[in-house]
């Protein structure tokens, strides 16, 4: 059996036709992107466009004493210099849970400095270059205060206990003390950055009290709500437009202060204003992944059976904001253990508030537990794959519910087979090729199935083509494509005849594109809307006296390949266009959503503009997660300590795949990002200045093509009816989870050195 057969046998439940869900249709937005026809947010050409550039704090803590704007205001082309004193106050917006905000003014430019790189002023000019030059003339003086530079700053302290993160069962401490084998180690991950190719930025334009914002967005309705609340205008008065997004990775879900600055400037000037962050500003203008620390202690029998897990986690947050990176999320579900304790603190440091970055929580969590179990495997002398099977969790050990589906055992088996794991020589430093020490490592990953709501509009036009509209988005993951496939399959038309329109808040609404939830939600919504449109079409065809099918007296009709016929094959066969013409309909339109039937308008607004969703992954009878197993080979130069990943085989359970080609591509993207995390990525803080010094893509290293070997992915998922309408589970975040520990485990196998601090750079191995 080939790998291709495996793929189609598992997650791909259809026959693989591109016009159906499960087919390998290429990205429908691909040609527009590679030819440059796709217009990104800040590429809009607008009459009278002015350009804003931010001025940032150069100290990490203190107060702005004075801002001297005279030179900037006198500079050529300058239209406006904004400071905390001159920017009109806004209203404080609610948070993403929809918590009503305090009735205090919001100023997007700071007087009180909580981190280096905070926006303190902005210059708006006729040209971008003029704005850049004038921004450099703004002189800001500060009364500096002592700062806490980062998590390991001696002043940082133990932080604040986050009680809601505590998970405990059994007697973890006592069981650990009594266990014959004990492992205890600390694992650290540094600040990491989403580093999207397209930097954050926007164009804001006002028409009266209506605001249009062209801005890359993972959540149009949520961001529109924030803009509306800031400027105290109705939600409907804000239009967010984001048809294409050059990478988000979690960083483009919220309206941020730079957006408030641009929109304020546009309002003051009565002109559209463009503001784009410089690459260095993308390291301080919003948060990357928080630096984390975990201590994992495992108590086990001599045969490797875990008796106790005691886990303590810490992540950094900002002085004023709160970010909790849930570090016990994988720890508490991956392995069966009778005794468990996980607790978490957050520590305030002088940094921008950290944010979501591909699998927040699960990613660092897996680095801890999946490294620790590898350490246990060597301690008890059991193969790292075997020890994982020995501790396999047959149900969710925390929620104590059955898994909806958990093809993790199948992933271990399929991955090990394809990788050739059985040929592994167990001892560290026992495999080599000249100067290269070779290591094989394994680690598992998981991501919960997050569920929420979405709606879609499906419109059958007079010419028989179909339009799908949704305010959800495509940031490269393939939404355009899979929604075209869903509509095509449901309606019985070729996918080529379906035009999907996304990224406009005037369209049918959708919640946040985050937590790998969008595909499951939106295929469900489009399936429902398209089904309603089809019912409408067939209903017309049967009941309208002008229809060629009227005389048939059929209960239903068949639509396939864009043509309508009777199920028995008697009677006429006409195209959809001919049918619509015959009954005099110029279009058929239907909306579908995944909300409960009796939802109110307020319920819907809340569902789409907040993340206060009532659906958790353990609601009802099941615990729902995606699963994966990574098998990775590294080559470590024994003199230089350089690590190169030479082979990756990953077997993944994302349930049913709506489009295997695109799912594989997302998995590979996650794996590549995981390789970067394991070996390269680290925001390096100058403690004296509380500032990231490698704030550019020459010094903050992400992998190049030369760093990435061939990656083999194997789908082992089966349709999961408890996770989504069409049986899929999450794809986008899953595959990064577990890559870093698999590499660290492979490095240990190669070298005998256990690296517990990411990234695994060469000085840690020489």
């Amino acid at each position: 059996m080939t790998i291709h057969d495996l793929r189609t046998r598992h997650g791909d439940a259809s026959d693989g036709s591109a016009d159906q869900v499960g087919g390998r249709l290429s990205r429908v937005d691909g040609p527009a992107k590679i030819t440059g026809a796709a217009k990104y947010a800040v590429e809009q050409q607008l009459e009278g466009l002015a350009h804003a550039v931010l001025v940032e704090s150069t100290v990490p803590a203190g107060k702005v004493r004075a801002i001297d704007t005279a030179a900037a205001e006198g500079a050529p082309g300058v239209l406006l210099v904004l400071t905390p004193d001159t920017i009109p106050p806004l209203k404080t917006a609610s948070d993403w849970f929809g918590t009503p905000p305090p009735d205090v003014p919001y100023c997007p430019l700071a007087r009180d400095i909580a981190f280096s790189g905070q926006h303190v002023a902005a210059v708006v000019a006729e040209s971008f270059e003029q704005a850049v030059a004038a921004a450099a003339l703004v002189k800001v003086s500060y009364d500096e205060a002592p700062a806490v530079a980062d998590l390991s700053d001696p002043k940082a302290g133990d932080g604040i206990a986050i009680d809601m993160m505590t998970k405990e069962w059994g007697e973890a401490e006592a069981a650990f003390a009594a266990a014959p084998v004990r492992i205890c180690a600390a694992y650290n991950t540094p600040r990491e950055y989403q580093a999207p190719m397209e930097p954050h930025g926007l164009i804001a334009a006002w028409q009266g009290d209506r605001l249009t914002v062209w801005e890359p967005s993972q959540w149009l309705d949520g961001m529109a709500r924030t803009y509306a609340e800031w400027f105290a205008i109705p939600f409907e008065n804000v239009r967010l437009v984001s048809p294409y997004i050059g990478g988000g990775f979690g960083s483009k879900a919220l309206a941020l202060s730079h957006g408030a600055v641009a929109a304020s400037a546009a309002k003051m000037l009565g002109r559209p204003v463009r503001l784009v962050m410089s690459r260095p500003q993308t390291f301080t203008g919003y948060g990357g992944r928080a630096a984390t620390r975990q201590t994992v202690t495992l108590g086990a029998d001599r045969d490797g059976k875990i008796q106790s897990i005691v886990h303590r986690g810490v992540n950094e947050t900002s002085m004023g904001g709160m970010w909790v990176e849930p570090l016990g999320s994988v720890t508490s579900v991956m392995y069966a253990t009778p005794n468990f304790s996980s607790k978490q603190n957050v520590v305030r440091v002088n940094s921008v508030v950290p944010g979501a970055m591909r699998a927040p929580g699960e990613n660092p969590s897996a680095f801890g537990i999946e490294s620790a179990i590898d350490e246990l495997a060597y301690e008890v002398g059991i193969d790292p794959l075997e020890i994982r099977l020995r501790n396999y969790a047959e149900q969710d050990p925390h929620a104590r519910k059955a898994w909806s589906t958990r093809q993790l055992r199948e992933a271990f088996v399929a991955g090990a087979e394809a990788f050739g794991w059985a040929r592994r020589s167990p001892a560290p430093r026992s495999m080599r090729d000249g100067n290269q020490l070779i290591g094989w490592g394994v680690a598992a990953g998981t991501y919960p199935v997050r569920r929420a709501y979405g709606e879609a509009l499906v419109r059958i036009l007079a010419d028989g083509t179909v339009e799908v509209e949704s305010s959800s988005i495509d940031m490269g993951q393939g939404t355009y494509t899979i929604l075209a496939q869903t509509a095509a399959e449901t309606l019985g038309v070729p996918a080529d005849n379906v035009v999907v329109k996304l990224g406009d808040s005037r369209f049918a609404r959708a919640g946040v594109t985050g937590g790998s939830r969008l595909a499951g939600i939106m295929t469900g919504a489009v399936h429902k809307a398209a089904g309603a449109a089809l019912d409408h079409l067939v209903g017309l065809a049967i009941s309208d006296p002008r229809s060629p099918f009227h005389a048939l007296q059929a209960n239903t009709l068949v639509v396939a390949g864009g043509r309508v016929s009777s199920p028995r094959g008697d009677g006429p066969e006409v195209s959809i266009a001919e049918l619509l013409a015959s009954v005099g309909a110029d279009q058929i339109e239907a909306k579908g959503d995944t909300m409960p039937a009796n939802s109110t308008a307020e319920d819907r607004y809340k569902a789409y503009t907040t993340i206060a969703t009532p659906l958790t992954h353990t609601d009802g009878d099941y615990s729902r997660h995606s699963w994966c197993a990574h098998f990775i080979e590294v080559r470590v130069d024994e003199d230089f300590g350089t690590v190169r990943v030479s082979r990756v085989v990953s077997a993944l359970d994302s349930g049913r795949l709506y489009n295997p080609k695109l799912a594989e591509s997302q998995w590979k993207g996650g794996i590549i990002m995981g390789i970067g995390q394991a070996l390269l990525e680290e925001g390096i803080v100058d403690r004296r200045h509380g500032r990231i010094v490698n704030n550019n893509l020459a010094d903050y290293l992400v992998p190049t093509n030369a760093d990435i070997p061939d990656i083999q992915t194997i789908s082992v998922g089966i349709p999961d009816p408890h996770s989504s309408a069409l049986g899929g589970k999450g794809v986008g975040e899953l595959a990064i989870v577990g890559v870093a520990p698999a590499i660290a485990n492979a490095v240990f196998h190669a070298t005998g050195k256990r690296v517990r601090d990411l990234p695994i750079t060469l000085e840690k191995l020489i």
Partner: protein
């Protein structure tokens, strides 16, 4: 806008004349200059564009050696058959530098003028203290993030690393830089920071690099450039070595040896002590590893860059052994 004037030079002589104007800078490929201007480090009053000048981009390789026109592109030199066969270390240094896009734009002369990647040097807004930018203002790097800083050739005023690759190979093979009337060895062209880290090159106002010449040698013909870094591509060296070897007729005794280091020093760093220790010796691993330790004689670390002192001799040793094993 920060205004500057732009002059399109009509001849090398006119370019040199214009380059003597206060605040004038020569513009060739622009890959360093435009970058530094964006950082707020380079603030030229006049840009003298020489990119179109004829006759400065030729590459000649013969029995005597190679002559590289200052306007030849990095990628052209890297891919030149004569360079590849007679000076493989030069070609390899270029291929492993920067990215394909930059190599296609950047000129050979401009490559020698490449400035340090010290993050403190490159961020005037946040780090006003930099002796290289503002003599006497102090050094922000000392006591800061130093993972990429030099361990050799540093001073109390500056520890910024020289980031290039090509010049490391040029120094190893005694190349000469031609500045119109004057010629200097590439080794002398690069200055140690000392108390004047703002002066990086021994080029005077009104001078312009026109050519680089590399004398032919058996060691250059049997040479390699080994670059070690965390990322496989598009990263500056953690440590690198240009090595050339000439063996005696016995095929194992070292007659001539050239060793230069990159990624560890404030300028391209010729390791003559390693050369002298091994000349006349039989090429074998223990002796090579032992002698390679001399490459970092006098090295001083600043904490996070300590690994370079461990790494550099290993890179030198591997490069010598690899070159020695070449057919």
């Amino acid at each position: 806008m920060r205004d500057f004037s732009y002059l399109r030079a009509t001849s090398p002589a006119a370019a040199r004349e214009a380059a003597a104007l206060p605040g004038a800078m020569l513009l060739a490929g622009g890959t360093t200059l435009v970058d530094l201007a964006k950082c707020g480090v380079a603030e030229p009053a006049t840009l003298v564009d020489i990119s179109h000048l004829k006759g400065l981009d030729t590459i000649e390789v013969g029995e005597q050696g190679a002559r590289l026109g200052a306007l030849a592109k990095m990628s052209q030199v890297a891919g030149h058959e004569g360079i590849k066969s007679r000076f493989p270390a030069v070609s390899e240094a270029l291929w492993q530098a920067a990215s394909a896009q930059i190599r296609n734009m950047a000129s050979i002369g401009g490559n020698l003028m490449q400035r340090t990647r010290c993050p403190y040097f490159r961020d005037p807004a946040n780090f006003p203290a930099c002796n290289k930018r503002e003599p006497g203002s102090g050094c922000s790097a000392i006591g800061g993030v130093t993972r990429g800083h030099a361990v050799l050739g540093t001073s109390e005023a500056c520890i910024a690393m020289y980031p290039g690759d090509l010049a490391v190979a040029l120094v190893a093979f005694d190349a000469t830089v031609h500045l119109g009337e004057r010629q200097l060895s590439v080794d002398d062209f690069f200055l140690l920071p000392g108390s004047t880290p703002d002066k990086e090159h021994a080029i005077k106002p009104g001078e312009m690099i026109t050519q680089i010449s590399i004398p032919a040698s058996a060691a250059a013909r049997r040479s390699t450039y080994l670059k070690v870094r965390d990322r496989q591509s598009y990263e500056f060296a953690a440590a690198s070595a240009a090595v050339g070897i000439e063996l005696e007729a016995d095929g194992r005794t070292i007659r001539d040896l050239r060793v230069a280091l990159g990624g560890v020093a404030t300028k391209p760093w010729r390791a003559r002590a390693v050369e002298e220790a091994l000349k006349g010796k039989v090429l074998e691993e223990d002796a090579v590893r032992h002698a390679s330790l001399l490459a970092v004689e006098g090295a001083v670390d600043h904490g996070a860059n300590h690994y370079k002192i461990e790494l550099a001799p290993r890179v030198v040793a591997r490069a010598i052994l690899k070159t020695g094993a070449m057919a």
